[in-house]
């Protein structure tokens, strides 16, 4: 294997690894509410979401080759790499992509360790922006659009991330309020079941949409690397093996389930009932689909979190604002920190030089990932304890109002909840 091929292989493997983290990081967006309300058992939820992500990924026939165009000037308008950059056989482009992917993966893993839902697409684009700025100079970064459409770091990342949680919150709040207004006087057991159906339906839509949108991004990045290194030439199609491997990676990641994040989003923020869950999931699905239809780029994570919050507030359920605060901090830092890591990785790769540089960056990725994995085993969160009571209940600051009473009557019957296994205490 020559040096150029080795770099390409490392980029492809890293891209699939990113896709995998993208899957498990975002399982919570679709399924956290369904798992916490008992609409679906944890394992069933992640299995369903994984299958739907796979289906969604295969539905994306269109090529999302221009994914990096949102933030850096690496490609021409039709998606081919900038000709000036591939004069050296594509090595420069490959190193930027590799460093960017590593920035995205490490931030995804770190936020997963902390159990914080942060945007995977912001992590990817942040990493690429940092690596792009390091490799191409500041002029390589696209800060803002030209005024005719939303583009660049400001138009596609910064402003949408400020606005999308608010939109989702308003929609979920309204939905939840209306649903309760209508059904408050009749709380039959039968109905709770039907609200769970509604919830599973909308959560499923979110999963399919996630597979379509996010797997496409990895496919685009992989194909860009193949074109840059001269192994592919079409800008209108993706090699079949790229499609199959990216779809499989995101589905496997989803099936693994980011239990730590599911727990935070499903239990840590607000304890929601099936009716609130249906309003939240309905809002997430509608806002995501409307935004993608209208070409308004927003992050699934921000929408899902805003929806859960809105569903909670719509019923006056106490919100753990400290958890919400940590999430917002994670959102605000995702893009810049992933960018810093991306830039640092590019610098390491460039200092070492050539395929050896790529190899060093890859080894750093594996080593840090392994360390994060070891850390995660100390307080393991899995399907068995994802729904356990959130401990710092004392943090709850808003008024519990009448909700305490409702909670008792609306709690899912015990046969819907997976029996909790004894918490693991031994260290691994």
């Amino acid at each position: 294997m020559d040096a150029a091929t080795l770099t390409l292989v490392l980029v492809i493997v890293t891209a699939l690894a990113f896709d995998f983290t993208n899957g498990f990081h975002d399982t919570a967006n679709a399924m956290a509410a369904s798992i916490s309300t008992g609409a679906l058992k944890p394992k069933v939820a992640v299995g369903l979401s994984a299958i739907l992500n796979l289906v969604g990924a295969f539905l994306s026939v269109e090529v999302a080759l221009t994914v990096t165009n949102a933030v850096i000037n690496l490609q021409t308008k039709d998606g081919a790499p900038d000709p000036a950059l591939i004069a050296d056989g594509g090595q420069a482009v490959l190193i930027i992509i590799l460093a960017g992917l590593v920035g995205g993966i490490l931030w995804n893993l770190f936020t997963w360790l902390l159990g914080l839902p942060s945007s995977s697409s912001h992590a990817l684009l942040g990493g690429l922006t940092g690596a792009g700025a390091a490799g191409l100079g500041w002029s390589g970064v696209k800060w803002n659009g030209d005024g005719t459409k939303l583009d660049g770091v400001v138009g596609k990342i910064l402003l949408p991330s400020l606005i999308s949680p608010v939109i989702a919150m308003l929609v979920a709040f309204t939905g939840c309020w209306l649903v309760h207004k209508v059904t408050n006087s009749v709380m039959h057991r039968l109905e709770e079941r039907y609200f769970r159906y509604g919830q599973v339906g909308s959560a499923s839509l979110v999963s399919v949409a996630h597979g379509t949108n996010d797997a496409q991004k990895t496919m685009g990045v992989m194909t860009l690397a193949l074109i840059a290194s001269g192994h592919w030439s079409s800008t209108t199609s993706v090699p079949t093996w790229v499609k199959v491997s990216a779809a499989t990676a995101i589905a496997l990641g989803t099936y693994l389930g980011g239990w730590r994040i599911i727990r935070t989003l499903g239990k840590g923020l607000v304890d929601i009932t099936p009716r609130q869950g249906m309003s939240s999931d309905g809002s997430t699905a509608a806002v995501l689909l409307a935004a993608s239809h209208l070409g308004f780029a927003l992050s699934t994570t921000h929408v899902a979190t805003g929806s859960v919050l809105g569903g909670g507030l719509g019923r006056g359920t106490p919100v753990r604002w400290s958890t919400a605060g940590r999430m917002v901090t994670a959102w605000a830092t995702t893009f810049p920190i992933a960018a810093l890591v991306g830039a640092l990785m590019w610098w390491v790769a460039d200092s070492v030089g050539g395929a050896a540089g790529a190899l060093v960056v890859f080894i750093i990725l594996v080593a840090v990932s392994w360390w994060i994995y070891r850390q995660s085993r100390v307080d393991h969160v899995g399907a068995h304890n994802v729904n356990e009571t959130w401990e710092d209940a004392a943090e709850v600051t808003s008024s519990p109002a009448e909700h305490g009473v409702l909670d008792a009557s609306e709690a899912p019957p015990s046969d819907d909840v997976e029996p909790a296994e004894p918490t693991e205490t031994k260290t691994h």
Binding site: V186, E191, T212, G282, H293
Partner: protein, 101 residues
Amino acid sequence: MNTIELVLQGASNVLFAGLVFGAGLPFIYAVALRVLTIGSVDYAEADGTIRSRPRFSSRVVAGVLIAVVIGGIVLGLVLIVASGFGMAVSFESFPPSIVEK
């Protein structure tokens, strides 16, 4: 037009569509379930569980409302599939049609 205007315009469109579908459909679904309880008869099963039997007219109305909700879900699926194939759904006419992007 500057970026702020573009963002606000995009955001208000998303908010509007989100409210119509994201809050509207759960609301219609809830109304359907509420309708089922109007004039329904409660009865006890052999094991003592209380269940209720909705009236026929309630079932018809609820059925229509739930059909609207299912229509919304199908529309969502069509949006996803269409965008996956590089197409878009046009709401210019009724019913919405699939067009080239």
